[in-house]
């Protein structure tokens, strides 16, 4: 046998709950946009660029009509708009190809940077030809600055701003200071030709005004954009935490159900052993006691299930639910199949007239809703009674479901209370002792969750009818199901 020292003690330290691990892409989105969004934006830039190319071609085409040029008192643009449009078209095709070819999805950021650099270079050329200081064309750099603030981090957008300033400054310097480029302008007369003395001062003031405005715009746009992005990041985190909490609650409910139901299953089975004579003969009085134990433990099992369902529904918000599209025929027939055994036991027959109507919601909840209403209709019917199930489209195409029985009915003064938890009328208790009084409370919670309007009509002693009007679910249940005319079930 091993000595005490040879056994190493095992150590475990209970860690405190940690923040949910946030997806790397979501984390990056706090600084710039996630890659999937950048990809869409790269394609959008390319589409917008076609408009710029079209504008350049139109401007170039204007030069082919000298009368219109004379009328507008502008210079003939010559060939440069066509050349620029051609270069831009080539680059745009390359960018489009790279963005769509999903061989390097992580390289989308390089694609975007490539687009921005090419755009800035071409734009500088356009600015030079249109008139860098004679017109307000230089303000078109602002489009790129603002867009970079939206799509990139603050640092990256500042780089774009500085690039724009450098290119604009280079254009002005080459044109007006060093005069290595001939003066170009849209207008017939440029600053060169005016030959005014304060030209340099005007140029300097205009230049610094322009870049001053750009920097202010960059600061405001990048600040607002980073704030929006941070808020978005926080919202994503909160959303993830909500989903995790919802899943945790469902898991907890499952475990609790098991823990509570399992002992009753054991009690029920042992009582059945006694009842069915597996343990020898038992006096009649004792058998009656065991019978009561059996029925109470079965009832308690159902009650536990309903209480947990109710607790889960009360703490559920509609936004956090998975929504499925269901077809009324399948759903209602499934629910009917669940209550068929009790119906057979009591000699109750169903009259079904269900047309296929689309319903949107969480399937489990809708099943709970209909199974509860149908089992009530069966339980509170007289022996050999009939339960009618109808489903059709209402005036606004909304699904309408009615479940009617010709059972014991409810007295008018008791009708407003039937949806209260644990409420049961004396007549209902006399008719059926097994119920928990939670079924209709579950129905009420589900109705509130999905905005279902319920109308109850009852004649005491003659039966009750529940009419459920669902919110319109915008569409037919399937492509091949047009409205409610096909495949009615009766």
């Amino acid at each position: 046998m091993a000595s005490d020292e040879s056994i190493q003690p095992a150590v475990f330290e209970l860690s405190l709950p940690q923040e949910l691990p946030v997806d790397a892409e979501i984390k990056d989105s706090a600084r710039s946009l996630p890659e999937s969004l950048l990809m869409r934006n790269a394609l959008w830039f390319c589409r917008v660029r076609w408009l710029v190319i079209a504008t350049l071609v139109c401007y170039g085409a204007l030069g082919l009509f000298p009368r219109s040029i004379d009328y507008l008192e502008i210079r003939s643009p010559g060939m440069w708009p066509f050349v620029m449009a051609g270069i831009l078209t080539l680059f745009n095709l390359v960018f489009l190809f790279l963005a769509r070819a999903k061989t390097f999805p992580s390289k989308i950021i390089f694609n975007l940077w490539g687009q921005i650099i090419v755009d800035l270079v071409i734009l500088t050329g356009v600015v030079y030809f249109i008139g860098s200081l004679e017109t307000n064309i230089a303000f078109t750099y602002l489009f790129h600055i603002v867009l970079s603030c939206v799509f990139f981090s603050r640092r990256q957008s500042l780089i774009v701003t500085i690039m724009a300033i450098v290119m604009f400054a280079a254009c002005i310097t080459a044109e007006y200071v060093l005069k290595i480029l001939p003066s170009m302008s849209l207008f017939a007369e440029s600053f060169h030709e005016q030959n005014h003395s304060p030209v340099l001062a005007t140029l300097t003031v205009n230049f610094f005004f322009a870049i001053g405005i750009w920097l202010v715009v960059w600061y405001l746009a990048s600040y607002l954009s980073s704030m929006v992005r941070r808020r978005d990041f926080e919202l994503t985190g909160t959303n993830l935490r909500l989903i995790a909490a919802q899943e945790e609650r469902a898991r907890h409910m499952l475990a609790t159900t098991h823990q509570l139901k399992a002992p009753f299953a054991a009690i029920y089975s042992n009582a059945q052993l006694l009842l069915q004579g597996y343990c020898g003969d038992i006096p009649d009085e004792a058998l009656q006691v065991i019978q009561r134990i059996t029925s109470r433990s079965r009832r308690l099992t159902t009650e536990i299930q309903e209480m947990l369902q109710l607790a889960n529904l009360s703490s559920t918000s509609q936004q956090s639910l998975p929504h499925n599209r269901m077809v009324s025929t399948e759903l209602l027939l499934w629910c009917k199949s669940q209550v068929d055994p009790i119906a057979r036991e009591r000699g109750i027959t169903f009259k079904v007239n269900v047309r296929p109507v689309a319903m949107v919601g969480t399937e489990d909840h809708f099943k709970m809703l209909f199974v509860n209403l149908l089992s009530n209709a069966v339980i509170y019917s007289h022996r050999n009674g009939q339960v009618h199930i109808c489903c059709y489209k209402g005036p606004d195409s909304e699904p309408v479901v009615t479940i009617a029985d010709n059972g014991i009915g409810i007295q008018p003064d008791k009708l407003p209370h039937i949806f209260e938890e644990h409420y049961r009328t004396n007549e209902a208790v006399q008719h059926n002792k097994e119920s928990s009084g939670l079924g209709l409370a579950i129905v009420k919670n589900i109705a509130e969750l999905y905005g279902i309007r319920i109308r109850v009509e009852s004649r005491f002693g003659f039966g009750t009818k529940f009419e459920l009007k669902f919110p319109a679910s915008n569409g037919s249940p399937g492509d091949n199901m047009k409205g409610e005319t096909k495949w009615p079930i009766s």
Binding site: A250, R251, M253, L254, A255, T257, H258, K261, A262, P263, F264, A265, A266, Y268, S269, N270, Q272, L273, Q276, Y278, S297, R298, T301, Q305, L308, Q309, N312, T362, D364, K367, M368, V371
Partner: protein, 135 residues
């Protein structure tokens, strides 16, 4: 005499089920945890395995055992499995016979606890008959 193996951590429930099935003339073995069940199956493969789902150390151990029987073990591959559990389809994350599926829940039949003995007896007899017919 058909040999049945009940794997359930609830001793009260398992022994009750065993009593009923023994009375029907079956040879019944009860195992209260998965490791013992695996050993027992390896040494003597049953004609029918009756499995619970949730065990104290693993909430889906019954599923895992069913999957390993179906997909990993040649000897245990064709043994019919009857799943008996207190969970049902009425719960989010719950399941029922409609969820029987070769990958997720590869069992032959599903019954919800508490189960009526008549239903249990019929189901066991039906599964054993079907298995004999397949052999």
């Amino acid at each position: 005499m058909a040999y049945l193996l009940i794997v359930d951590d609830d001793e009260d429930f398992a022994s009750t089920t065993a009593t009923v099935l023994r009375k029907e003339g079956y040879d019944v073995q009860v195992e209260l945890d998965i490791d013992s069940a695996v050993k027992s199956m390896q040494s003597k493969p049953p004609d029918l395995a009756i499995l619970d789902v949730m065990f104290p150390e693993d909430a889906s151990a019954g599923f895992e055992l069913a999957r390993s029987m179906r997909h990993e073990s040649g000897k245990l591959k064709n043994i019919p499995i009857l799943m008996l559990t207190a969970i049902n389809t009425k719960f989010p994350l719950g399941f029922g016979s409609k969820d029987i599926d070769d990958r997720w829940m590869p069992v032959t039949e599903f019954l919800e606890k508490p189960v009526d003995f008549d239903v249990l007896r019929d189901k066991v007899a039906k599964l054993l008959r079907a298995n004999r017919a397949n052999d």
